[in-house]
């Protein structure tokens, strides 16, 4: 059985000027351990879809099932990563990564130890007492990811997590985040408009049409060597094939 099932999800936005249909019967499934990208032209309702999937928005119709159950009963299984890291500048790295635990009143010796291990594994233990302004963009993004992972989510939602970074650190952080998510064996769903990013990081790319969006096509991404990092995948010969194919699909959905 699939871990997450998105079933006939439609979403309308209302404003005084009228009604906008953002999503129209979106259907797809996510299996355990998969890394999926949702790719679509800008303004097509990708983020809306993500916010429906994580229960922050109520869809106009349709439903999201987690292991066959309504997602709203399983909100604690979800982690969310934003475009910006949204670290609190007035808190230290440690206070930032334990924020979610503190709010959920789960900050105990066991969880503290877990967070410490995460910080240690991903090279941030030394910066525990530092403030976010003292860290590089990549380190900040890693802190933000650990803040999410501290709550032991099963599924991670990533909303264009690298687009606030400059090109070079985007590639580096992409590798970092990919490694962390693989090592922690999490399922991940990423929203992006960057074709190269989608190919290099995910096993399946879901292309959305323009508004009102539905799923245009699902493309599985298989590289011969499974152990390649996203950066290495960019240099693989198969990469440009996938790129061209997705380019065409996106081009058509823009028309």
């Amino acid at each position: 059985m699939s871990l997450l099932k998105i079933s006939d999800v439609s979403m309308n936005y209302h404003s005084i000027k009228g009604e906008t249909q953002a999503l129209n019967n979106v259907n797809f499934e996510v299996n355990n351990g998969e890394f999926i990208s949702i790719l679509g032209p800008s303004g097509c309702g990708k983020s809306t879809l993500l916010n429906i999937m994580n229960g922050l928005l109520e869809p106009s119709s349709g439903y999201i099932l987690y292991k066959g159950e309504d997602i709203k009963k399983n909100l604690d299984k979800i982690g969310y990563m934003f475009q910006k890291d949204h670290l609190f500048e007035w808190n230290t790295v440690w206070e930032n990564v334990t924020l979610g635990l503190k709010i959920k009143k789960q900050l105990n010796n066991e969880s503290k130890e877990r967070v410490n291990e995460l910080l240690d594994t991903y090279g941030l233990l030394r910066f525990k007492a530092h403030y976010p302004s003292e860290l590089s963009g990549g380190m900040r993004q890693r802190v933000a990811l650990i803040r999410t992972l501290a709550l032991k989510p099963e599924i991670l939602f990533l909303d264009e997590p690298f687009s606030a970074l400059d090109y070079q650190s985007r590639l580096l952080v992409c590798d970092d985040v990919y490694n962390i998510i693989k090592t922690e064996k999490k399922t991940a769903i990423m929203v992006t408009h960057d074709i190269a990013e989608a190919i290099s990081i995910s096993q399946k790319v879901i292309v959305l049409t323009k508004r009102p969006s539905n799923v245009k096509v699902e493309i599985s991404i298989d590289f011969e060597n499974d152990d390649l990092t996203p950066f290495q995948k960019r240099k693989s010969p198969q990469f440009s094939g996938y790129f061209n194919r997705l380019w065409k699909e996106l081009d058509q959905s823009n028309e």
Binding site: L56, H86, G100, T121, Y122, S133, S136, L151, D176, T183
Partner: protein
């Protein structure tokens, strides 16, 4: 067993990779810092020394000129009054101000007047700020109420609060509580407006982040909004100190039997302009000290934040 080993090895390798990357970054930072240090030690030599000296001397010149202006003003005032260029009955003079100061000090009422006015002012602006923040919190947590009350707040803000003073005196009575309420009223509405604007300027995604943690409104306030808004609170406090002085002096004009405002009005009524001038000089000094104190707290918090 071997597979377990392999996984462990792979994990270790990945860790090493990440660590190496970090080490690289740290190395870079270290090198940068050392470079700066070397620069400081070496280049303090000629050019930088001259630059530092220049900055210092400019600073000193500014302070000296400031003091000089004050000294010249006082001296001119004194000379003009002594030589009868101006009528010291109308303008008083520094020596007369000091005499008035000493006579009030000797009959023991000076510090009573200063103390009462300070007490009223401090109570006025702190209560005004606290109440303003409290109302802003309520309006922030109920956007519907906030929308409804919007025009009323605008009207209250535009209204000169001092116009309400006679009513407040009738309601509360002729005394210190009325003065404090006037001081508080003057600052509370601007506080509500500026704090609420600050609250609403917080990045919506940060609130969404808190929502993904399923944080309650109180938790959002405690962990996000309040720490974020500390600079806004302090700038509101800074404005309120000034407004509160206006409220207190105005209130004392109307009802008081004590305080600097009373001294000013009383001095005017009995044609004792020395007393009026002295009160104004004291007022200016205390207002300056209070402002500096708030500015000091502001600096401290801004420093803490960075």
């Amino acid at each position: 067993m071997s597979k377990k080993h392999e996984i462990h090895f792979l994990k270790k390798q990945k860790e090493d990779n990440i660590n190496r990357k970090n080490d690289h970054v740290i190395e870079k930072i270290k090198v940068n810092k050392e470079y700066q240090k070397v620069e400081l030690e070496d280049k303090v030599s000629k050019e930088h020394e001259i630059y530092l000296k220049k900055v210092k001397s400019t600073k000193r010149r500014i302070v000296i000129t400031r003091i000089l202006i004050l000294a010249i003003f006082i001296a001119l005032w004194q000379i003009a009054a002594s030589l009868k260029w101006i009528d010291p009955f109308l303008t008083s003079s520094p020596t007369r101000v000091i005499k008035s100061f000493i006579s009030l000090y000797e009959d023991g009422s000076l510090f009573k007047h200063i103390g009462i006015t300070c007490y009223e002012t401090i109570l006025g602006f702190s209560l005004g700020t606290i109440l303003g923040v409290l109302i802003a919190v309520i309006l922030w947590s109920c956007p519907f109420v906030s929308k409804i009350l919007d025009p009323y707040i605008v009207v209250l803000n535009a209204l000169p609060k001092v116009a309400l003073a006679p009513i407040i005196i009738f309601w509360i009575g002729n005394g210190m509580p009325a003065i404090i309420v006037i001081a508080l009223l003057i600052s509370v509405i601007t506080t509500v407006i500026s704090v609420l604007t600050g609250f609403n300027e917080i990045d919506k995604e940060k609130i969404m982040l808190m929502n993904t943690f399923r944080a309650s409104k109180i938790q959002i306030l405690r962990y996000l909004i309040f720490p974020y808004s500390i600079p806004i609170f302090i700038s509101a406090l800074k404005i309120n100190v000034g407004l509160s002085w206006v409220g207190v002096i105005m209130g004392e004009f109307l009802v008081a039997k004590n305080g600097l405002g009373f001294l000013i009005v009383y001095g005017g009524q009995v044609a004792q302009l020395d007393m009026v001038m002295m009160s104004i000089v004291i007022l200016a000094t205390i207002a300056f000290i209070m402002y500096e104190m708030v500015a000091f707290t502001e600096n401290k918090f801004v420093k803490d934040k960075n």
